[in-house]
């Protein structure tokens, strides 16, 4: 085997010069490291300091004090739980709805293009605007269209945003993210080979059976992609919370919580940084487990 190892380390071998392979990766990697990791490291540093600008206090090192404060903060746990609920329910519901819509759209019918166009629009609306429109014109207990409809139907009006803050925010998020999920799922449906479906038809499978046994497994990767992208973006949701409820039990998620601790009024940058570091670490752990263990997105490819 000596010759084998010799060949592997031979400097002239184009395949054993990894830097050549890495070269195209470097610009993006360097960019990402500089633009995202430098701020991250600064945040790590801040998290070990006490630093406020109102009143202006010089930044000074306090070690792990911020982390101690954080551990004993029930409001942070509450916000974390709200974040989990908000993200999971938004992603699941919009994925379900998106799949349903994709299935409905993946067939020829009158006005298909118009329907798709209408459905796609919410995704293109600015989040702040979406939040304000829904809060003031859809959900409002007094002037909201939803309550107007409810009252016409003989029901009592519902103060959606104040009674069900989480559900209201999730509704808006679902409204915005369903089109995105629908697009990906539609892409998934259209990439399914027609042979398989025709084979199933000939084999006498019912429509539902075909969908469950063939289409759904085929869509799994797409669903995972939806879930991944959706989660990454929905976890970060801030604007809708800000304009719809302005925080509170069942609506303060982690971004809003961190915001309140820092520029939203707390001005305690050290503590806020500590919270965000914890968020990043937890996210990495959760994402690692999700991506490596549960999902096939990063695991199933054998393409050396």
């Amino acid at each position: 085997m000596t010759s084998v190892t010799a060949a592997r380390t031979s400097p002239a071998d184009p395949f054993s010069r990894p830097w050549r392979r890495r070269l195209p990766l470097l610009p993006a990697l360097l960019f990402a490291i500089v633009v995202t990791q430098v701020p991250f490291l600064l945040s790590v540093y801040y998290s070990f300091t006490e630093w406020s600008i109102n009143p202006p206090t010089p930044r000074h090192f306090i070690g792990l004090d911020n982390y101690q404060t954080l551990v004993s903060d029930p409001f942070f746990r509450e916000a974390a739980w709200t974040s989990v609920l908000m993200t999971v329910s938004t992603v699941l519901i919009s994925l379900g709805l998106g799949t349903l819509l994709a299935v409905l759209l993946d067939r020829h019918f009158f006005g298909q293009g118009i329907v798709r166009t209408l459905l796609i629009t919410p995704f293109l609306i600015m989040p702040v605007v979406a939040g304000l429109i829904w809060k003031n014109q859809m959900f409002s207990g007094l002037y909201g269209v939803l309550n107007w409809v409810l009252e016409r139907l003989g029901f009592n009006s519902i103060e959606f945003v104040s009674q069900y803050p989480l559900a209201s925010i999730v509704t808006v998020l679902v409204w915005q993210w369903t089109p995105f999920m629908m697009l990906i799922m539609l892409a998934g449906l259209q990439s399914q080979s027609t042979d398989v479906l025709e084979a199933a038809k000939v084999d006498g499978a019912s429509v539902f059976g075909t969908f469950r046994q063939l289409t759904l497994p085929h869509l799994r990767r797409y669903m995972e992609l939806c879930a991944l992208l959706g989660t990454i973006y929905v976890v970060q949701v801030f604007d809708q919370v800000d304009v719809m409820t302005g925080g509170g039990p069942d609506s303060t998620n982690i971004p809003y919580f961190v915001y309140e601790r820092s520029i939203g009024g707390g001005w305690d940058f050290g503590l806020a940084s500590a919270y965000s570091i914890v968020v990043v670490l937890v996210s990495i752990v959760v994402a690692t487990v999700a991506l490596r263990v549960l999902s096939r997105l990063l695991t199933d490819e054998a393409r050396a």
Binding site: R22, Q37, F109, I133, Q190, R221, I263
Partner: protein, 287 residues
């Protein structure tokens, strides 16, 4: 019969009633989803007082709100300036994203570097730091380098925001490119640039277009960084939209009008590109 000649939309043995029912369901859901947007457009033609009162479907429409939001005095943020800033930031950042992500995706998909999974995961993990938290160090850095209120800072940040998404998506498209084509190009003597420009990019064009469109949408609608870092110069459309929010008086009609204007570019882009986008997203199985 003409219908026969055009070809039926029904599959063999499919019931017409079921087909119609499904089509109607799709229409109904589409109308429900579109309704808030429709309502926003409607509000933009209302007087302020009519926008913030019991729902009214019939009213005498006015263009005054559009006049209000576009006729801004000198010294304040004009829609034209904001749109120009937004266009520059969005286009430049998207171009840079593609310029960075395409070679990166090549290195992750076509000639995967060792541990490419970890690299991909790293890119995704850069999105975990809450934006609200990252604003602090970013503001400090931007202030230090005197880049506050410049388009540069937004271009850089939007590139960073969209880079993970683009790398991820492009990689999945590149993985789908038949490997033999790359090998053929190798043997034919094409170097990295030749392979990218002659083989990979043309084939992955729909996927790249879909990726670019998503980047454009996210960058165009980004509000938080824009308002925190560029409140004076280099302000973008989302900030212009929110200047119409008031805590002492009605603003919904004006905000609606501003939103309609603000959304038009991406909505149009999205509408026009939706088919290509679906095709792009479905470029082979997303892996």
């Amino acid at each position: 019969m003409i219908r026969r000649r055009l070809g039926t939309r029904l599959g063999v043995g499919e019931r017409r009633s079921a087909h119609v029912a499904l089509a109607l369901t799709a229409w109904l859901l589409a109308l429900i989803f579109f309704f808030p947007v429709f309502w926003m457009v409607l509000s933009s033609f209302k007087e302020e007082q009519d926008a913030n009162t019991s729902p009214k479907l019939f009213f005498s429409p006015t263009l005054d709100r559009y006049r209000d939001v576009t006729s801004n005095p000198e010294g304040t943020l004009a829609f034209g300036d904001a749109a120009t800033n937004s266009a520059i930031v969005v286009l430049l950042s998207t171009l840079i994203v593609l310029a960075l992500a395409i070679p990166a995706a090549y290195a992750l998909a076509i000639r995967p570097v060792p541990k490419w999974r970890d690299v991909l995961f790293f890119f995704i993990s850069t999105k975990f730091l809450p934006i609200v938290a990252s604003i602090l160090p970013i503001w400090v850095l931007a202030n230090h380098f005197e880049k506050l209120n410049t388009l540069t800072v937004l271009v850089v940040l939007y590139t960073a925001i969209n880079l993970p998404l683009a790398v991820w998506m492009l990689r999945s498209f590149f993985v789908e490119i038949p490997r033999e084509l790359i090998e053929a190009a190798d043997i034919d003597g094409a170097k990295l640039r030749g392979q990218l420009t002659s083989i990979i990019l043309p084939i992955a064009a729909p996927g790249i277009a879909a990726t670019a469109l998503l980047c454009v949408i996210f960058a165009w609608n980004e509000y938080f960084y824009a308002v925190q870092l560029n409140p004076i110069e280099g302000s973008t459309v989302p900030m212009w939209v929110t200047t119409n929010i008031s805590t002492r008086g009605d603003f919904l009609a004006k905000l609606s009008a501003a939103s309609v204007l603000a959304c038009i570019p991406v909505v149009l882009a999205g509408w026009l590109a939706q088919k290509r986008m679906i095709r792009g997203l479905s470029m082979g199985a997303i892996k």
